[in-house]
Symmetry: none
Subunit: 307 residues, 2 copies
DNA sequence: GCCGAGCCGAAAATATCTTTCAGTAGTGAC
DNA sequence: GTCACTACTGAAAGATATTTTCGGCTCGGC
């Protein structure tokens, strides 16, 4: 009895930083799979394929099932954002329970050359929906909120993106301009760098790259970073080189790609969702000025529509 | 007392000894509560009252929380039908996950100024998923197939779009170029019209406009139509003015919009799905030349990625 | 007040998870 | 083609959590 008073109430405490994922696990597996090693991928695959089964296994059991070692299992759990295997297992049990009570995830096959057009539509739509769900689930809201704050108070904002990501950069820029912010999109690497030099503390630089290793957008971000601007990376590979110059990292889902389904397709969908979230977040923060600006731009366009 | 123990063993033994309780835990607690000792009741109470919280605790933590000992916690777990505390904890995590997923549908409401950022993400993702589903369901595959055929055999293709739709036009153009087709995107209405004059039968002109009444893209489409080119409209308003000059109409979903959620946001998602479908369709038709072109462009970009 | 039955918790024993460390395969440079 | 290097991997040691054991304790009956 007496020991109770002496004992410390807080036994769990500990874990600071980011909260793990409850049901966003499948999403996280898909998102992080590319940055995993072979052994870890085997573990991740087993986990994603049979959450209920894996939840019943100990580290040793799962290691044997996947033909790897305990260390690899723990490493995988860490990569997925859990402090250790114990917590991954807990999340796994939760996921299994949800799946059992809810819906079963449909698995789509790849697009074939001879697929009828109706199948193409269905598969593409499903894939992009999946990308949206995964991206939403995997998005770090703390990072997002920080990026929104930075944007809302920035003197000016530069957005870097080339190729398909360049269009996303332009999309974000268009939106920010509509609510009265100063934003520029750069697709030309040289101009991007020369403009980045002008940035200083309080400004914001955003790099958009699916691979996380596109030199043409990393370079201007590095310059902006070194000039003291707040830097944001929107990438599918949070472990990529771009992240070393990013104050805030917003991760998009990495759906599998194939010959007829280039990566640019689904990555763009995820990137646009992130961009939309940024925009709405900023619009909320600056509502007083954003709302009238939005209405004004809407009315200004009205006369360009034929009846 | 021994009868209780025996009957309990039979009860769980009826399920083969292995499967305990997934979600029927609260019920089991109430049922078995009378046959519990005081300490065990405290444990059972804590478990039933806050499954999620207890799932985060170790056996020691739960013992301290309830002012009992580890042994008592384990004994309680056994009484509830689990082999030990470890398994009770797993079931607890599952229960918590189920409860949490139960209160999900707060998404259907509009985005408010004071919505937390996490809600914004969920709502936007849900909305865009909805747009994808609606667009896929409403897409006329016959029209789509006809448009694909026209594109695959076209001498050249012009795509018109202004504002947000201009980015979609560029996206389509980028993709078509990657598989060796001749395509141009036009955001400048004047240039669009002057280029449209060059089109003739066998060429394709595509107008992208959500409202279906954007004069700046209707005008070049009209010119192309009159020059004998095959014309395609990607619009959210198939009854709009743009359709009168379109041989093939591809309809995108029109999701509701609001102050903080401009139409450009979800319309863009639907337009991009249509564009992707066009691209994949054309890539299928021209597979012999498209596949090597895709690989080539992929490899050509590889060296622009940092390691 | 004494006795017995069974509840309870501290600590030992065991299982499980985590970390460390060294071997190995893959990779790029020369 | 060879070499050096990086980084993945698994075995075993180390740390934690769980389970078992065992003796003290309370409570009711006589």
């Amino acid at each position: 009895m007496k020991e109770i008073f002496a004992s410390d109430r807080d036994g769990s405490g500990g874990a600071g930083g980011t909260p793990p994922a409850p049901a966003a696990l499948a999403a996280k597996v898909r998102t992080l799979a590319p940055s995993m090693t072979r052994s870890m991928q085997r573990v991740a695959e087993a986990v994603a394929g049979d959450p209920a089964g894996c939840a019943a296994l100990t580290v040793t059991g799962l290691a044997e099932l996947t033909g790897t070692s305990e260390a690899t299992v723990v490493r995988t759990a860490r990569l997925l954002g859990y402090p250790g295997y114990r917590d991954l297992r807990l999340a796994l049990a939760g996921l299994a329970a949800q799946q059992q009570s809810g819906r079963a995830p449909a698995i789509t096959t790849d697009i074939a050359v001879d697929d009828p057009i109706a199948d193409v539509v269905a598969k593409l739509a499903y894939d992009e929906q999946q990308t949206l769900a995964d991206t939403a689930a995997g998005l770090d809201t703390a990072q997002l909120a920080a990026a929104v704050t930075a944007l809302a108070t920035a003197r000016r904002t530069d957005v870097y993106g080339v190729g398909a990501s360049g269009l996303v950069a332009q999309d974000l820029t268009q939106k920010l301009l509509r609510i009265g912010l100063v934003a520029h999109a750069h697709s030309d690497p040289h101009l991007a760098v020369t403009n980045a030099v002008q940035l200083r503390a309080g400004d914001v630089a955003i790099a958009i790259t699916h691979s996380g290793s596109t030199g043409d957008v990393i370079e201007p971000l590095r310059v902006a970073f070194e000039r003291g601007a707040t830097t944001v990376a929107i990438t599918g590979r949070p472990d990529g080189p771009v992240s070393q110059y990013a104050d805030h990292i917003l991760t998009t889902s990495t759906a599998r790609e194939s010959e007829l389904r280039p990566a640019a397709m689904s990555s763009r969908t995820g990137q646009l969702l992130v961009v939309d979230c940024l925009f709405v977040g900023v619009a909320q923060r600056t509502y007083e000025s954003a709302a009238p600006a939005l209405s004004a731009s809407y009315e200004a366009l009205a006369h360009r529509h034929r009846s």
